[in-house]
Each structure stands twice: as structure tokens, then as C-alpha cells.
Homo-oligomer: 219 residues x 2
């Protein structure tokens, strides 16, 4: 298998398994990688052969120790590059994901560690995602999705789960950036939309948006 193919599978499996705890289904992977399910079945069989994953037919897939190690390395490269592009090269947080998708495959430990060092070995990337250290160790957090919070609460935005330009520009337009504080006034029963206050301005956000915002409770 081509190295880039392996890397894209492992990264995807890692991301879909939420910190490598859950088992991942073929269809999830197929959607994420925009591949035909038949292709994914084949791919997983090969990754199993290569001992990167445990793939149990018609049940699901999880990473082996070896697979998780490589996955965490790709995730590290991706997030370090995103941070470098934003902090050192002046890109917007809505532009960097696509570039990092390519840069992540350049495998040079010295390069990544040098970038990390220039950045002061950051623990979070521009979207609030944790950056694994050189050994693959990752900072645990007790953050939640805004959609999972209680009504009437104070929160700080810690990250996002959608990295599309469209979503990030929408957030920016409404001052919903990382570090911003917000207060949830109420949740509409009909559609679970949230009425929130942020920077003294009141606004309504859909449940779909609230699902993509990661927050820390301040209460």
C-alpha cells in the first residue's frame, strides 16, 4: 500500500474513534475518505495484514498499538503545520486545514520538531484540537459539545469539530472564536436551537452549529 493511503486511513480511523476508544465502522471511513465501501473493505483487509489495525469482518475496526503510533504522528504533523501556518505565516484558521492535509504527509521528524519548538511546543492547534507530543502523548480534557451543555450556563469556546472554511468564517463573523465567553440563555424545545449571548450581542444558533462547538463550562 502507498504510504499516503495508509496514513489517510489511520488518521481517519483515529479521528472517528474519538481518541482511539471506539470501534469504527466501514461506512464512517468510506464517507470520511470519500471512497466506495468496497474500497474500504479491501483497504482494511490490507491494513490488518500490515498489522496497523484489527479489522473484524462485519463488525468494525480499531487501531493496533503500531497503528495508533503512526496515526498520532500524522495527527501531530497535521496540527503542528496548522498552528505554524496560522501563527508564523499569517494564514487564517479557515484556510489551513486543506494545506495541512498535504503537508502532513511530509515525513521528517526533525522538521516537525523544529516547527513545534519555534511555536513553543503548543498543546492546542488553531481549532482547539490537542497536539500529540513527540511520543504521541495527548492532553486530555473535559470539554463538551455546546449542544450537550445545560440550559442557562456560562461557557468558554475551546474548539470546533468542523474545519470547513464556511463554518469557520461563520463563527468568526459572529465573534465565536476560541477563547470567547458566552452565556446560554435558553434552548428552543422545537428544534434545539440555542439563544446565546456573546460579546453583549444576542444571537440564535442552530443545534447543528452547537454540535460543532467545543466548550468548557465556567459554572
Amino acid at each position: 500500500m502507498r504510504q499516503e493511503t495508509i496514513e489517510n486511513y489511520l488518521k481517519t480511523i483515529y479521528n472517528l474513534s474519538s481518541n482511539n476508544t471506539a470501534i469504527v465502522s466501514n461506512s464512517q471511513i468510506a464517507i470520511q475518505l470519500e471512497l466506495n465501501p468496497a474500497t474500504v473493505t479491501e483497504g482494511l483487509r490490507k491494513l490488518h495484514e500490515l498489522k496497523y489495525v484489527i479489522y473484524e469482518k462485519s463488525y468494525g475496526t480499531r487501531l493496533t498499538t503500531q497503528g495508533a503510533k503512526l496515526a498520532l504522528d500524522i495527527v501531530r504533523r497535521h496540527r503542528i503545520w496548522e498552528t505554524y501556518l496560522v501563527k508564523e505565516l499569517g494564514f487564517g484558521w479557515d484556510e489551513v486545514h486543506a494545506i495541512a492535509e498535504e503537508l502532513e504527509h511530509v515525513n521528517n521528524t526533525k522538521l516537525i520538531n523544529k516547527l513545534a519548538s519555534i511555536l513553543g511546543n503548543p498543546i492546542y492547534d488553531p481549532h482547539g484540537d490537542p497536539i500529540p507530543d513527540e511520543k504521541g502523548k495527548i492532553k486530555k480534557s473535559n470539554f463538551i459539545k455546546l449542544s450537550e451543555g445545560l440550559v442557562k450556563g456560562n461557557y468558554t469556546i475551546m474548539g470546533v469539530t468542523d474545519h470547513s472554511s464556511a463554518f469557520l468564517r461563520y463563527l468568526e463573523k459572529n465573534a465565536l472564536i476560541i477563547g470567547a465567553k458566552l452565556f446560554v440563555k435558553s434552548i428552543e424545545e422545537f428544534d434545539q436551537s440555542l439563544s446565546i449571548v456573546c460579546q453583549k450581542k444576542e444571537l440564535i444558533i442552530s443545534s447543528k452549529v452547537a454540535e460543532c462547538i467545543i466548550v468548557q463550562s465556567n459554572d
Copy 2:
């Protein structure tokens, strides 16, 4: 054809044609890309179809305007990255070529122009090779190979044509770095080895080494 394959062919053809003037043979390309000649014949037929090259069977290949444009873009990316790695990230001139071979395929104009801008839009890379500007324009020079110079002359080292770590470390060990001044005392008739003085130290270099050093005459 895969974009990376196209790019590697075009860059190679550009480099072998010395500034896109000469016609390039299949065997040269095969050696450079470490491919079987049969593969190169196929590759060139496809690149001709795609209008990147004019490939005349059993005669030779040259770039079209479109092909030269893309080739110069790859060369620019490669040399900007090499310069950035040396000047901003602290790599040695003997380490950067291999990394740039991967980074050159990341296609993002804004990124390359940003790196170039941080570097002050350099005209030469760490090996003395000229960096095309955004439009593909390249600084012409009247530099020569040290092996082509006259006996008893003063020269300044302007570049190298071999980018291997082994060669570059050999040069560094002997203070034969870019900008260094040297004096050619004599050329041995038997093997064309050169007796030179550099930094007050005398040393003998083989004709093979002299062929890989680009100089400007100071006389």
C-alpha cells in the same frame, strides 16, 4: 497521470535541458528518475498527449510553453523551500534537498509567496541555483564550471551542481562554500586534477569535483 508524476518528469526535463534550451534524451530522464527506459517512453507519450512536452520518437523531448511554466513553478517551490529550511529553520545545506523533494509537490501559491516574502524574495537558493520569480522569470548568469576555467585564475564559488549530502559535506570540510574565494594554481595534465588555494590552505581537487563547482571569474 498523477500530478506528482507529471511534476517529477517536467522538473527533470527542465533541469536536464539546461534552462530549457537543449533537447533531452529518454535515457537521461530514465537515469535521473531511476526508471526503466520503457517506463519513460510511455511517460513521455502521455505528457505529449497532455501537451506538456513535444516528444519526437527516437529523437528527443522538450517542454512546451505550458510545460515550462509548470516546471518553473516546481523549481521555484523546491528552491524556496530549500532556502527557507536553511535560513529560517536552521537546516544545513546538505540536508534540505531531500526534504524539498517532498515539499515541492504541495501546491499553494500563497504559501510559497509568503515564504519567499519572509526570505526577502531571494534570487539564489543555498546551492547557488537561481530561484524563478512568481512569473517564472529567472536570473541569468555568466557563471562557469570550475573545471572549465583557465589555469591560474581567481574565482568566487557561486554554486554547486551536485546536491548530495556526501559532496556538500566534503566541500564544507574544505571551506569550499558559496562565496568562498579561491585561486587555481595549476591543472595536472594527467588527470585534470586542480591544485588550488582557498583560505590560505592549498589543496588538490579532482576533475570530478571541479565539474560540480560553479564559479565566477574575478580576473
